[in-house]
């Protein structure tokens, strides 16, 4: 008799353990509080009730284009009003977690239906080559797709694997007032590399930091590579080919980047604490009026103007020239965008929602809310009133060039470009040593990733 209660206790305890070990329910997304839509964009469906569809969207972008959250909430609300059977869960990811969370979701084949991706190699490796996203060719008509800007960043093997959302470009931003203070002409910013170095000297003479940056968290090193190294290339494919082994990063065309960056360092162009501050702190030196120039991002321009109190304190220029490759005269721009996951039960519904994002009303609302150009040539340019943003849009649509950081393996970006910039500014390595280090990292990547190398060869063609 005594044994029965004991046995019961064991059974209950075992049951509790098994229940605890059961797969967890899919994480409930932090649903964003969508404002009530005020305008119905299309009549609600009538007739027999449609299947209830829930689309989960994991996204990033508020960090880069403030106002994106408001726009997305409104977009979701309007779409749901027009399609009452479709609801959404939107989850804003942190920068460090965006790719990690997706990799975990891809491994488990559950999670988002629509995922935000930065363009380029990260997208191709983590999403396309791993089979985690679907091509959109069969889901979105060709005529519609033709309007999206920078499709080449999401094209592989003849198919389009994602939909771009907005454009993110990298101008060299300058403060016209500080230029005047240093005796520089703000309406005629430096156009050549020597003019840039000379400008650094004049700015130093009046106690102004010429160019500010922060390398401690690494990101900025990759930006410098994208914006400065491009001038010897005709196309991003030259980088892809070099990564695949068709050329060496010690070749003069590729190695010159380190010498040019070193020239800026030797010319005293940078804040002395560049290695001990983060990217954001380096950027803050510009908005605080302590530095005259910033290798920046055009999605932040509206925020800069708000912080600095006036658009008059913001001027824009292309990176001054030293090289003669076709990319030397181009504006670094990438399309941030979306992918439809391969495990979603509702690929067509997901695609239709992405198409809705590109309707004229939504494109206009996007620009109004964020000040950032959408990745669509149907945006009405007359919406842009600020001269600086007009200039950015003109560059993005007339002289766009690839963001080079997107066309090298991730480990080369981190271990060579980011780390290399830190070593250059700490004085530990010469430009020649850094070029060799880049080549060593690429060789290591090729040894560890033979399958990816095959894809790089395809991409380089």
């Amino acid at each position: 008799m005594k044994d029965i209660p004991r046995l019961l206790a064991v059974v209950v305890a075992t049951g509790l353990v098994i229940a605890a070990c059961a797969p967890a329910a899919p994480p409930t997304a932090v649903a964003t509080q969508a404002p009530a839509a005020t305008v119905a964009t299309s009549p609600a469906a009538t007739g027999k009730p449609a299947e209830q569809v829930k689309l989960v969207i994991w996204w990033w972008g508020e960090q880069e284009a403030p106002g994106a959250q408001k726009w997305l909430d409104e977009t979701v609300a309007k779409y749901t009003q027009a399609h009452p059977n479709i609801t959404f869960d939107t989850v804003l990811q942190s920068t460090d977690n965006l790719e990690l969370a997706f990799q975990a979701a891809a491994a488990a084949k559950q999670g988002p239906d629509i995922q935000y991706f930065w363009a380029g190699m990260g997208f191709l490796q983590n999403a396309v080559w791993s089979g985690a996203v679907k091509p959109v060719d069969d889901l979105i008509p060709a005529g519609e797709r033709a309007h999206y800007i920078n499709n080449y960043e999401r094209t592989f093997d003849g198919k389009l694997w994602g939909v771009n959302w907005y454009l993110s470009g990298n101008p060299l931003v300058y403060n016209p007032e500080l230029f005047k203070k240093a005796g520089l002409d703000p309406s005629n910013p430096p156009k050549t590399w020597d003019e840039l170095k000379a400008a650094c000297g004049k700015l130093n003479a009046v106690g102004v930091i010429p160019i500010s940056g922060g390398l401690k968290d690494g990101w900025f090193g990759g930006w410098l590579f994208s914006m400065i190294a491009r001038q010897n290339y005709d196309s991003e494919k030259e980088l892809v080919a070099a990564s695949a082994g068709a050329a060496k990063f010690t070749d003069p065309k590729y190695a010159e980047y380190w010498s040019r960056l070193n020239e800026l360092k030797e010319a005293g162009c940078w804040n002395k604490d560049i290695n001990s501050v983060d990217y954001q702190q380096g950027q803050d030196l510009f908005t605080q009026g302590k530095s005259a120039m910033l290798f920046g991002n055009d999605t932040f321009l509206k925020g800069f103007a708000d912080t600095m109190g006036s658009w008059d304190k913001i001027g824009l220029m292309l990176v001054p020239k030293y090289g003669s490759g076709k990319l030397a005269d181009t504006y670094t721009v990438t399309g941030q965008g979306w992918g439809i996951t391969s495990w979603t039960k509702y690929p067509q519904e997901a695609a239709d929602f992405l198409v809705y994002m590109h309707t004229p009303e939504r494109l206009a609302a996007w620009f109004t809310d964020t000040g950032v150009a959408p990745a669509d040539d149907r945006m009405d340019p007359s919406l842009i009133s600020q001269p600086q943003l007009k200039q950015v849009y003109k560059w993005e649509t007339t002289v766009p060039g690839p963001n080079l950081e997107n066309w090298i393996p991730g480990i080369v970006d981190h271990d060579a470009m980011m780390t290399g910039a830190q070593l250059l500014f700490s004085g530990d390595n010469t430009p020649a040593q850094l070029a060799q280090m880049t080549e060593d990292v690429v060789v290591k990547w090729r040894d560890q990733n033979p399958d990816a190398v095959k894809n790089f060869v395809i991409l380089a063609k």
Binding site: D3, V17, C21, K216, N275, V277, G410
Partner: protein
């Protein structure tokens, strides 16, 4: 009475303890056993899932050709210098507190406070303090020591020692409290006898205190070694990200980067297995030391 019990009940009683242990054993197997086994399998493969192929020890061979991994090991071994420094500092401060200097209770709480703070908070605060234009350098310039205002986190030569300072600052409190607790259980007659024999402060503590604390010192040393080898990720990630120029790369961060940034799960698993064996060895050592500590306290 035993002879009157049926044989099957006796058989059942033999297995009964295992029945009660089974829920915990199942939980342990699922939470610890399966991930470790999976880690081992991944470390011997190339690729994962249906695309995985057996790679033998090639991942391990690649590791030892990777300058970044070798650098990470070197940095972890350098961090071991913190251990004797922490022991000495903790010992000295514990002795001062044991001597009941005025306000010793307040000092005890203050010295232990850093240990209670989250590493992320400590890392963030000190990363601002140690910037080239940070609080420390501003203070040094203010008191006329501007020559010492260095780029603590931005220099490849100074970043690791700076990290070590922060780790010592945070972790030493645990040692102080451990040593003080042990000191308070030492028989006071030993100290009285030594004083009567004319021992000075140094002789007293070298010949009485240190031997009495030997097992606790060993315990703290083992725990600290395990910390330096496999529990410094937060410090490095928050304060330097492994930089500048990989000057503060450690094995945990290497695992994180290989596994989650560069999708090299097999390489990351190999490093994890190596770390597991090394720290497992130290944990076994720590358990033996704790046994001895328990035996000493039982005798005391």
């Amino acid at each position: 009475m035993l002879l009157s019990q049926p044989v099957d009940t006796m058989q059942y009683r033999k297995f009964e303890p295992w029945l009660y242990l089974s829920p915990a054993l199942i939980a342990l197997a699922l939470i610890y056993g399966y991930p470790v086994a999976r880690l081992l399998v991944l470390s011997l493969q190339r690729g994962s899932g249906s695309g995985a192929s057996f790679a033998g020890i090639s991942n391990y061979q690649q590791l030892f050709k990777d300058y970044l991994f070798l650098g990470a090991i070197r940095h972890n071994l350098t961090l071991l210098i913190c251990v004797p420094i922490m022991i000495v500092i903790a010992l000295i401060l514990a002795v001062f507190l044991f001597d009941r200097i005025r306000g010793w209770r307040f000092y005890r709480s203050t010295l232990f406070l850093p240990y209670l703070l989250p590493i992320t908070v400590v890392g963030l605060v000190f990363s601002y303090v140690f910037q080239l234009s940070g609080v420390l350098n501003d203070f040094l310039k203010l008191i006329g020591l501007g020559a010492l205002a260095l780029d603590w986190l931005g220099s490849t030569k100074l970043a690791l020692p700076t990290l070590m300072f922060v780790i010592i600052w945070k972790e030493v409190g645990f040692g102080i409290v451990l040593f003080l607790a042990r000191l308070m259980s030492v028989d006071e007659e030993l100290f009285d006898a030594a004083k009567i024999d004319g021992a000075n402060w140094w002789q007293l503590h070298w010949h009485i205190t240190v031997p009495q604390l030997s097992t606790v010192i060993e315990f703290f040393a083992v725990i600290s070694v395990i910390t330096m080898l496999s529990w410094v990720f937060n410090y490095v990630f928050v304060m330097t990200g492994g930089g500048p120029g990989n000057a503060t790369m450690v094995t945990e961060l290497y695992v994180y980067l290989e596994g989650f940034e560069w999708n090299q799960m097999n390489i990351a698993s190999s490093v994890s297995v190596l770390l597991l064996f090394v720290t497992g060895g130290f944990i076994f050592l720590e358990l033996r030391v704790r046994e001895r500590l328990g035996a000493v306290e039982a005798v005391g």
